[in-house]
């Protein structure tokens, strides 16, 4: 394409992240550091990875911390930790599961608007010591009308369970068919040093777990997870001139359906319209088709969610996603690798950061740095994150430079 499109593209030039898992101390032990300490070290590592000095950073978009973080005013407080002086924008963003993706999207916009030469998308989650009842209450009130749905105490994963029950009813899949997403996710995560759960699981071990939100059991929903991550962004020209390895953001799409969780006017909950539309927009902007995509990192907190997204974006026909999974199409060596990081179920799901960890996985894959989970010759990656019951989707296409 012409120089105009070329000049507006953004690159990811550097990154750093902690493994997903537990950043809070064990009982009776001293913490390594508070949230701002943990993130300061990760951001410094990301700048070293990008090969730039802190005074080059013009913008920093933070994911808002969960309510377990005591330090408020977090983004501006972090500026003092990092010693950054910025002429672009410093802020924190929060929009449920979209949060990490929105931080990335806005950091990229800072580059495209010319307000920053380098920008950061970053955040930290340290919630593993938090009160479980409070965390559940926050989750329930985030995913339902506080007066008309929250009283029925449906947690975020409960909505995916409702999707799952309906999908099983419509397509004749079994719970076990769908649970294979966890087995596949663990196979990938074995080879991901950032993953929370790196031990393989058999389908029998998944099926033996206690129910959490029927028809989903313990290993079919995400565990609580902490993490910290920072991506360094700049223009494609700046990345080329740097001589450092980079990947390009070649497409972006967004869509909000105009309802939250479900509409009061019936629609299918097993087809995510926002995912279909946002991904289509991102592919068109990138000038590619879904068939060109080498791997996809799809925000999918529960097993069923991954299947529904693969169908919704057109990777598989409706009702065929679980069959494709069982045939190994989305596994290592399959024709459509999905969530090679291990995804929310094995790489782990610190909710505000999941979008950023997914983008990091694509970066590693497209740079050929993914070790034994590497998709050979990967040049194009698709990323999604979402909110509600995929009522809104933010999609990005990442590309390895030619």
């Amino acid at each position: 394409m012409g120089a105009q499109r070329h000049s507006s593209r953004v690159a990811i030039l550097g990154s750093a992240a902690t493994p997903v898992g537990r950043l809070a101390p064990r009982y009776g032990q001293m913490a390594d550091g508070l949230e701002h300490d943990i993130l300061a070290e990760v951001a410094a590592d990301a700048l070293l990875d990008a090969g730039i000095s802190p005074d080059r950073v013009d913008a920093a978009i933070f994911t808002q911390n969960p309510p377990t973080t005591r330090q408020l005013g977090f983004a501006t407080f972090m500026m003092a930790q990092l010693g950054l002086q910025c002429r672009g924008l410093v802020t924190e963003v929060s929009q449920l599961g979209l949060t990490g993706g929105v931080a990335f999207d806005q950091a990229a916009a800072q580059i495209q608007l010319g307000q920053a030469e380098y920008s950061l998308a970053l955040g930290v989650v340290r919630q593993s010591l938090g009160d479980m009842s409070m965390a559940m209450d926050f989750g329930i009130r985030a995913v339902g009308d506080v007066n008309f749905q929250a009283p029925f105490a449906i947690p975020p994963i409960g909505w995916y369970a409702l999707d799952c029950a309906r999908y099983i009813h419509e397509h004749g899949a079994s719970r076990e068919d769908i649970a294979h997403v966890t087995v596949k996710s663990r196979e990938y995560a074995r080879h991901n040093p950032l993953a929370q759960f790196r031990q393989p699981l058999s389908i029998r071990e998944v099926m033996e777990q206690r129910p959490i939100v029927d028809p989903l059991g313990l290993f079919e929903v995400p565990a609580r997870a902490d993490g910290a991550i920072c991506l360094v962004l700049c223009s494609e020209e700046t990345a080329v001139a740097s001589g450092q390895p980079y990947v390009i953001v070649s497409g972006r799409g967004f869509y909000h359906e105009g309802h939250h969780q479900i509409s009061d006017h019936p629609h299918s909950i097993t087809e995510f319209a926002s995912a279909r539309l946002a991904v289509k927009t991102s592919l068109v902007q990138a000038g590619v088709t879904l068939a060109d995509i080498d791997l996809a990192e799809l925000y999918a907190p529960c097993t069923i969610t991954e299947i529904l997204v693969t169908e919704s974006i057109g990777m598989f026909d409706r009702g065929e996603g679980y069959r494709a999974l069982l045939q190994g199409d989305t596994s290592i060596g399959g024709r459509s690798p999905v969530n090679t990081s291990g995804g929310c179920l094995a790489r782990g799901h610190p909710p505000q950061l999941t979008g950023l960890y997914g983008l990091l996985e694509l970066r590693e894959q497209l740079l050929g740095q993914a070790g034994e989970r590497q998709v050979p010759g990967a040049r194009l990656g698709l990323h999604t994150c979402e909110l509600g019951n995929y009522n809104a989707t933010l999609a990005h296409v990442l590309e390895a430079p030619q």
Partner: protein
């Protein structure tokens, strides 16, 4: 048309803030009716009640009782609820499609051995020490 009333010993799980917009709905429950709002302009039905119609942005609504008849669109059983909700876990939750074309989320009361998707359900009013609420149960209960 009055819906069945079922006595439950526990308080409603969360304190409900009644407003000028939602008061007619809660008042309706005390008289055995589950009311939905119909936009005076475009006639779209809304539940929960809203300040404005999401379809045409008009602000005037009529209230209409539903029959209570519907089908079970989907169902889950939530094994654990936060202690502050005072809910006896596990609890079944349901997506119910009412015959008027309105979809709601509510609790599915126990008592049926035939909890099947697309089967008939009916809305009921539940009476609690602190007021009225609503739930669904399978049609065979």
């Amino acid at each position: 048309m009055s819906l069945s009333l079922i006595e439950l010993g526990l308080n409603r799980p969360l304190p409900i803030e009644i407003t000028k917009i939602t008061e007619p709905f809660w008042e309706g429950l005390t008289e055995g009716d589950f009311l939905v709002a119909r936009c005076n302009n475009c006639r779209r039905l809304s539940f929960p009640p809203r300040a404005i119609c999401p379809q045409c942005h008009a602000r005037e609504f009529d209230w209409q009782p539903v029959s209570g008849r519907g089908t079970l669109y989907s169902v889950s059983k939530v094994e654990q609820s936060p202690s502050l909700y005072g809910i006896l876990s596990p609890m079944r939750v349901a997506v119910v499609d009412l015959e008027e074309g309105i979809r709601i989320v509510t609790r599915l009361l126990p008592g049926s051995n035939n909890v099947e998707i697309d089967a008939n359900v009916k809305l009921v009013i539940t009476s609690h020490p602190d007021g009225y609420h609503y739930a669904a149960r399978m049609d065979d209960v």
